[in-house]
C-alpha cells in the first residue's frame, strides 16, 4: 500500500521501508528547535543533572522571541541564560530578537523537505510548509531529544485537505483555516497528521501557505504538511529536491475533506475558541477596542502588505488601537523598504517590536477585562491575550485592518 508524506518521513528516520498508522517507532531527529521559554532555562539544569551533552549541536536551533525585548529583570535573566547556553554548548543556529521561532528557521533555510523536525512549541507544525514532518513537543520531551537525538512517535493517521479553486479577492489563507476549523472543531484532527493539497493551496504565496501548517495544531493535529512544489525549493535557493518526499497516489487517508477556495468569504472566530467560526458578516458591527496584527500566523510580509492595502488613504478609527508586531526583523525591513510600513504608520497604527508579544499574553498590547480585540493570531482561548474576561475575535489581516478602520468587525471586501 502507498504511503503518505508523513509516513515516509517516519519510515526513513526510524530505519524502515514503511510504517502503518498506530505503530510506535523510535525516530532520529533531523532538526530540533527550542525558544527562550521552553528551552535553555528548563533544559540547561536538566542536562547538568544528567551530566549529558547535546547529541549534535549543529541540529539545534534556539530562538529568543517570547521574552524579548525584556520588560523586567526576570525576562533579562531568561535571555541571559538562553544566550549563555547557546554559547557554552556550541549552538550556532542561535537567534535573539530576530523574529518568531517558527518564522526565523524558514527565513534562514534551516528547514528542508523530507526532514523530521521537532520543536518545543505547539506551533512547530509550521515547518511542515516545507514538506517536512514537523512535530510540536514539550520541554522535557525535548530533553530526551537533546540527549539521545531520538524521539518515539506513534505513526498518525493522515487526513487530507483538498482545496480546489482559487481564493477570491478579500479572502486569505486564514479564511481557509477557519473554514476547516469550523467544520471539524479544535479537536477534529487530534493525534492525526494533516496533508494539504489542490490548486487552492499551491496557488498561495509561500507566506500564506505558512498559515495552513501553522494552524494545523489548532485542529489538534500532530503535524500539517504541504508536499513540495517549485515554490518550496525556490524558498531555499533551488535546493531540497534530493530529500523531498511526496505522498503516493494510493496512500491511505483516514478521510479527505474537499473544499472550493473560490466559494469562500471572509471568516472570523468568535471569542473563546478558534473553532467558533462564522462569516465576518455575521459579526459585523461588533465593537472593538484593539486590532492586533502579530504572531507567527499573521504578521509576515504578505500580511503587512494586506493591511497596508486596506489602510492606504484611510485612518484607524478614533479611539481604536491598531498594533503591528512583525513576525521578524526581516519582515520589518522589507516593509520599511517598500511603502507598506509608511502606509500603515500614516494610518495611525502603532509599530511594536518583533516577537511573540500579546499573542501569548506577554509584552505590549495585552487586554484588560471586557476589552475587545480582533487579531490575526491563531488562538483566542479565554485569557490567551491577557485578562480572562477580554474578548478576542480571530480574522485574516485584511479583516483585522478593515475592522480597525471602522472600529467594529468588518468584512474587508467592503473596503477593497
Amino acid at each position: 500500500m502507498g504511503q503518505t508524506l508523513s509516513e515516509k518521513v517516519i519510515a526513513r528516520t526510524s530505519g524502515r521501508t514503511s510504517v502503518v498508522p498506530g505503530e510506535i517507532v523510535w525516530c532520529a531527529v533531523d532538526l530540533a528547535m527550542v525558544h527562550d521559554s521552553s528551552g535553555p532555562r528548563r533544559l540547561g539544569p536538566l542536562l547538568e543533572r544528567l551530566g549529558a551533552e547535546i547529541w549534535d549541536p549543529s541540529k539545534v536551533v534556539i530562538v529568543t522571541d517570547h521574552f524579548t525585548p525584556a520588560n523586567d529583570q526576570a525576562e533579562v535573566e531568561i535571555a541571559r541564560v538562553t544566550r549563555a547556553f547557546a554559547h557554552d554548548r556550541g549552538i550556532l543556529k542561535y537567534h535573539e530578537a530576530e523574529g518568531i521561532c517558527h518564522i526565523v528557521p524558514l527565513e534562514q533555510g534551516y528547514v528542508r523537505p523530507g526532514m523530521l523536525f521537532v520543536g518545543a512549541d505547539s506551533h512547530s507544525t509550521t515547518a511542515g510548509v516545507m514538506g517536512a514532518f514537523a512535530v510540536p513537543i514539550g520541554a522535557t520531551e525535548m530533553l530526551g531529544v537533546f540527549v539521545t537525538g531520538e524521539i518515539w512517535l506513534k505513526v498518525p493517521e493522515t487526513t487530507r485537505i483538498e482545496w480546489s479553486g482559487r481564493l477570491r479577492d478579500g479572502c486569505m489563507a486564514k479564511d481557509m483555516v477557519l473554514t476547516v476549523l469550523g467544520e471539524i472543531g479544535d479537536d477534529g484532527a487530534t493525534y492525526q497528521a494533516l496533508e494539504y493539497g489542490g490548486e487552492g493551496v499551491y496557488a498561495l504565496p509561500f507566506d500564506e501557505r505558512i498559515v495552513l501548517t501553522n494552524m494545523a495544531i489548532e485542529h489538534g493535529a500532530k503535524a500539517g504538511v504541504i508536499p513540495p512544489d517549485d515554490l518550496t525549493f525556490e524558498m531555499i535557493g533551488g535546493a531540497g529536491r534530493e530529500t523531498a518526499v511526496y505522498p503516493d497516489a494510493d496512500a491511505h487517508y483516514l478521510r479527505v475533506l474537499k473544499h472550493d477556495a473560490s466559494d469562500l468569504v471572509p471568516q472570523i472566530a468568535w471569542p473563546g475558541s478558534p473553532d467558533n467560526v462564522a462569516p465576518a458578516t455575521a459579526a459585523a458591527g461588533e465593537r472593538i477596542d484593539q486590532g492586533y496584527i502579530g504572531a507567527c500566523t499573521g504578521a509576515k510580509y504578505t500580511d503587512l502588505a494586506a493591511v497596508a492595502r486596506i489602510l492606504k488613504g484611510r485612518r484607524v478609527a478614533p479611539g481604536i488601537r491598531l498594533l503591528i508586531a512583525p513576525a521578524s526583523k526581516d519582515v520589518m525591513r522589507r516593509a520599511a523598504e517598500s511603502d507598506v510600513l509608511a502606509t500603515i504608520l500614516a494610518a495611525g497604527a502603532t509599530l511594536l517590536p518583533t516577537g511573540c508579544g500579546a499573542c501569548a499574553g506577554l509584552g505590549h498590547g495585552v487586554l484588560g477585562p471586557g476589552e475587545r480585540c480582533i487579531s490575526s493570531t491563531n488562538r483566542n482561548y479565554p485569557g490567551r491575550m491577557g485578562h480572562v474576561e477580554a474578548r478576542v475575535f480571530l480574522g485574516s489581516p485584511l479583516t483585522v485592518a478593515a475592522s480597525a478602520v471602522t472600529g467594529m468587525v468588518t468584512d474587508p471586501r467592503e473596503l477593497l
Binding site: 544528567l50 505547539s122 514539550g138 522535557t140 540527549v147 487530534t190 500532530k222 488562538r379 482561548y381
Partner: protein, 166 residues
Amino acid sequence: MSLRGRALVYGDDISTDQITPGKYLKLTEAEAALHAMEGIDPTFMTRVKQGDFIVGGRNFGSGSSREYAASSLRIAGIVAVIAPFFARIFFRNAINQGLAVLECPEAGQIHEGDELEVDVLAGEVRDLTQGFTLTATKLPPHILELVAAGGLVPWLERKLAAKRAT
C-alpha cells in the same frame, strides 16, 4: 500502581492557556504552580489536596505546548488526570512529567468529589462513591515504563547510568 483520592471535575476543552495563563510563564516552575487552573477555576488552589485527581472533559489540555500546565498540576498535588481524550502535546508532557493520564471514554459519569481508586498500569478507574469501574485505554509498554520511572528525567537518568556501566 494503585492510587486513591478525590475527583475534581471539569468540562470539555480545558486549554493550557487556562491551566497556566501566559503571564506566569516567566516564573519558575514552582511559582507558576501556585496559579494552577487559575484561568478556569480561581478556587482550585484553595481546594486541591495532595493525591487528588482531575477528571476533565474531551480534549483536555488543548492549545499551547507549555509544560507548566502539566507540572503545575503535579506540583499542586494532582496525581492523575482522567478524561475521554487529551490534546496530544499535553498527554505527552504529562507522562514526561510523571503525571499519569488516563483516556477513559466514560469519564463523564464521575461526579465532583467522588472517591476514586485508579490503577494506572491496568487502566482501571474505580468510582468508590458511586460503585462502578471504568476502563481506560491501556498505555503501550514503553509509555508505562516512563510512567513507572516517574517521568522522562528519571528514566533518562537510569538509561544513561546503564550505558555508563557497560
